[in-house]
Amino acid sequence: MIIRRGGEIPSSEITPYQHYLDRRAFMLAAGAAALGAVLPPRLGAWPRRSDDKLTPYKDVIGYNNYYEFGTDKASPAKLAGGLKTDPWTIEVAGAVKRPGTYSYDDLVRPHPAEERVYRHRCVEGWSMVVPWMGFPLGDLIRRLEPSSQAKYVEFTTLNDPAQMPGQRSNVLPWPYVEGLRMDEALHPLTLMVMGVYGKPLPNQNGAPLRLIVPWKYGFKGGKAIVRIRFTDTQPRTTWNIAIPREYGFYANVNPQVAHPRWSQARERRIGEFFKQDTLMFNGYADQVASLYAGMNLRINY
């Protein structure tokens, strides 16, 4: 597993930069630089196949499913540029001891950025390998101190048709809502993401803050998050509301459970011509299969 800790950055080092550097860019740059210095080679423990080459940056930022900016994969890169991500606030609500509206910096800053290379599998049958920059969602959740009623976490994406032209069409019910069971949210693989390829997250990839759950289909990863709500009932998630028969709450990558209209047994790596086998839980079964012990994954798709 590639978890490269950026480490603590003494505040004395940060302060002078704040005046002339964008803080986010700085944090990411610092994280990336620190990583570069310490690191074990990428080989080894990570359950990747030999062909898990990084998907080129241009494809990661140019081929996006982000219906807030249109249903075409190229349109987010064209239309998301104007989205204002600074200032940005995130509302923390529900069954939690520290609710309130947090500025992006207040919410994100205490968490050092790490780089994680994850496979990213879309429900449509394509996949990428992406070096995300972020921190475990669990660290944030523990800081916010959910109460004992909190059994699920819900993530809401910005709803602003003026900035997000795709929201002027009713192709999906807006705002986009996603959710996780608490144990899934606390799992060390679940990542709050602020960057990719060592740079701040481009708008089309979900800036300034998005979720990545590498063993689930990509649509579980809400983008441009403005609200995190802790709840005791399973959140009603957007694709599940739109087409319940095709998109479930769990949406775990599972080659044995077909989407009603297409097989999920294989996938095409972006840029390649032929398909390869899809792995159970997207190849993260060793880490996450125990979360679903005893569950019928055909029913809980």
Binding site: D59, G62, Y63, T71, E124, A242, I243, W262, F273, F274
Partner: protein
Amino acid sequence: MLSRGQIIRWVVKPVIWMVGLGIPAWLTWGAFHDGLGSDPVETIQRWTGKGALIGLLLTLSITPLRRRTGWNDLIRLRRLLGLFAFFLATLHLLSYVVFDQSLSLVEIQKDVLEHPWVFAGLSTWLLLLPLALTSTKGSIRRLGGGRWQRLHRLIYLAAAGGVLHFLWLVKKDTGTPALFGAALVLLLVARLPRWKAARAPRSPDPLDSTRAPH
């Protein structure tokens, strides 16, 4: 001044050839030069699929257009358009067989039987196949005009199959397939008066039970 026949021969036909061959030529070039975007196979399938469907709709537009404009030479475009539609549909099918299924007949059979949109797509191609094979003047002669025409009415079914194939494959963005569907409906509606006229008996037939008073 070019005559209508010359416009068709020297302008319209060359344009159809250029587009019909240009699409696969560009896709082939792009495939070897990283020119088809992040998901080249998807690009290939989208262009050959939409191209085939547009070709079918254009083929179906010739007759109503000819009747409305009285420009009878248009009929000389119909076969060419139909054959290019079939050509692009064939490339579309081949890209599925090769890239999506790696030539596995077992996988293809499963996919066709399990998924209505794949079934619709393959059916469309199978419906077009006999039309393409009997597109020559010799075939018309051998089959006889009436039988040839009845056989070639399969194009209506094929066009409907193509639109359904497109409609059933999209996730939620049904706009474009609906547009193709609307165009097809429009082309069928344009034929309605003529079909009605053809069905109406020239003189009342007392033996025709379907027309007996209820």
